[in-house]
Symmetry: C2
Subunit: 260 residues, 2 copies
C-alpha cells in the first residue's frame, strides 16, 4: 500500500466527553491531526474539543488548515489549493492523517470535499469515516425536546434556500432543523411568523460546548446575523402525545405500534 | 432531591467503540442499567453494545425490559405498565438509572416515552439525555456516501407514511432517509421505480455492528419484510460535485461559500 488511510474523524458537537472511543484511538494513532479553522487568527473548534486527548507535539503534528467562510470563490480555491498541497506532501511521505471535524463528518462538513477529492489526487488511497455525535443529536439533548418519535417526519434544511419553500416545509414536517442559518435569520423569522410557529421554535448555538446558548423565545433575538454554529429547530409536536397528553392511550399506542 | 437523575444514554449504532466517554461514565456510575429488548427470548441490541463496559452484577443491576414490536395496543400497554412498575420501584428507592438506547435517544427511541412520562409519575425527577452516534451518522460512514453537503436538503421519514407522499419527497429532497421500513419494502420499491431512483438507493441494516448488511443494488432484495434496523437512503447527488465531477470549480465554490 503506497498511502496510509486518510481518516475523517467526527469529534462531536463540542463537549470533549462526547468523543467516541474510536475517535480518540484514531486521533492518537495518527502521525498528523488536521484541525480546520475559519481564520488563521481564530480558534479551531475541533482543536478545543481534542486538545486534551491528542499526543503532544512533536510526537504528532497538529496541522491547522484555514477554510474561510466567504462568498468569494477565489478565497476557497486558494484555501483548498493550499490545503491539498500541505496534505499531499504528508500523504506522499506515507504519513497517516486524521482530519478532525466537529459533529459528524458526513453532515455538512469540510471533510466531505476532501473525501471526494482524495481518490482522484492519490489513487488507491483508502478513506475512512469515523462517525460522531452530530449537532442534530446534541440539540435535543440540551433542550429536552426529542427530535422525532412514532411517525413524525424530519426535514433538515441548510438555510438560504428560499422562504416560500420554507413555509411549505414547516407545514408538512413535524420537525424542521434549520442549519447554517447565518444571514437568513430575518427570513426564517418571517416564515415562522406567517405559519404561526414562532412559539414552536428554539434557537441553539454550540450545543454541549462551554459557549452553549439556548434561546427558547425567538422574540428575544434580534434578527442579527446568527453565528455559523447556530441552528433553529421547529417542533410542531401535534401528532405526538404517546403516553402523555389527552390522546386516548389506545390511539396513541396504535400509532406507536405502527411506527415501531 | 428525592429522586436521582434518570439518564437516557445513547449507546451508538452497534460498534462498542462508538460509545462516547460520557455514555461509558454514565453507564458505569448507574445503580441500574436498563436494557430494552423486543422479546423476552431475544437479544438486547443495547446489551450487545454495552456488556463489555458496564460493571459486573451484583455491583450493578442489569434490568432487561421487553417492549414488543406489535400492532396490538394491548401488548404495548402491558409492556409499559410492567416497565413503569419496575422502574418506579427502583426510582422510589433512590437508585440511579441509566436507560441504554441504541443510536441516539432523541431520534425514534423507546426512551422518548419514558422521558415524557417520568416527570408526571415522579414529580421533580431530573431527566438527562446523553446524545449518541445515531444510525443516520453510521450509515454514510459505512457506505462512503455523505448525507449532505453545501445546500443539500435531507428528509427523514418513518416508513408507513403513504407512497404518494413518498414520491413527492424523493423529488424534492436531495437525500431521503427511510427509517423503520418494516413491512413497507414493496411500497418503497414502487416509489423508487416510479421516480427512477432505484439506482440512487442503498439498503443498510445494523451499520457498524457485526451483523452489518449493505445492499447497493436494491434489485438483489426481494421485497421481504425488512428487519427493524434496516434503513434505505436515497441520495440524488444532483446538486453536489464540489471539487469533483464536471461542475466548474467557480460554480461549485460559489455554492460552497453560500452554503457555509
Amino acid at each position: 500500500m503506497k498511502y496510509k488511510t486518510l481518516y475523517g474523524v467526527g469529534v462531536g458537537p463540542g463537549a470533549p466527553d462526547l468523543l467516541t472511543l474510536r475517535a480518540i484511538r484514531t486521533l492518537r494513532r495518527a502521525d498528523v491531526v488536521v484541525l480546520p479553522r475559519s481564520s488563521p487568527y481564530g480558534q479551531s473548534v475541533a482543536w478545543e474539543i481534542v486538545k486534551s486527548i491528542v499526543r503532544k507535539a512533536p510526537q504528532q503534528e497538529h496541522l491547522f488548515l484555514t477554510f474561510p467562510m466567504s462568498r468569494e470563490p477565489a478565497r476557497h480555491i486558494d484555501a483548498w489549493n493550499l490545503a491539498f498541497g500541505k496534505l499531499g506532501e504528508r500523504i506522499e511521505r506515507g504519513l497517516s492523517i486524521a482530519f478532525a471535524t466537529e459533529g459528524d463528518p458526513s453532515l455538512y462538513s469540510t471533510f466531505i470535499y476532501l473525501q471526494r477529492e482524495a481518490p482522484l489526487r492519490w489513487p488507491g488511497i483508502k478513506v475512512e469515516v469515523v462517525p460522531g455525535v452530530s449537532s442534530i443529536a446534541a440539540v435535543p439533548a440540551v433542550t429536552g425536546v426529542p427530535l422525532a418519535d412514532g411517525l413524525e417526519r424530519i426535514a433538515i434544511i441548510p438555510a438560504g434556500y428560499g422562504v416560500d419553500d420554507l413555509i411549505d416545509i414547516f407545514q408538512r414536517f413535524d420537525t424542521t432543523i434549520l442549519m447554517k442559518i447565518g444571514s437568513e435569520m430575518s427570513n426564517i423569522f418571517a416564515a415562522l411568523k406567517e405559519t404561526g410557529l414562532t412559539d414552536k421554535a428554539v434557537y441553539v448555538s454550540k450545543a454541549t460546548a462551554s459557549q452553549q446558548r439556548i434561546v427558547r423565545d425567538l422574540r428575544e433575538l434580534t434578527p442579527e446575523r446568527g453565528d455559523c454554529f447556530a441552528m433553529i429547530i421547529v417542533s410542531r409536536k401535534e401528532r405526538t402525545g404517546v403516553l402523555a397528553g389527552d390522546t386516548p392511550p389506545e390511539k396513541v399506542l396504535d400509532e406507536l405500534s405502527n411506527g415501531h
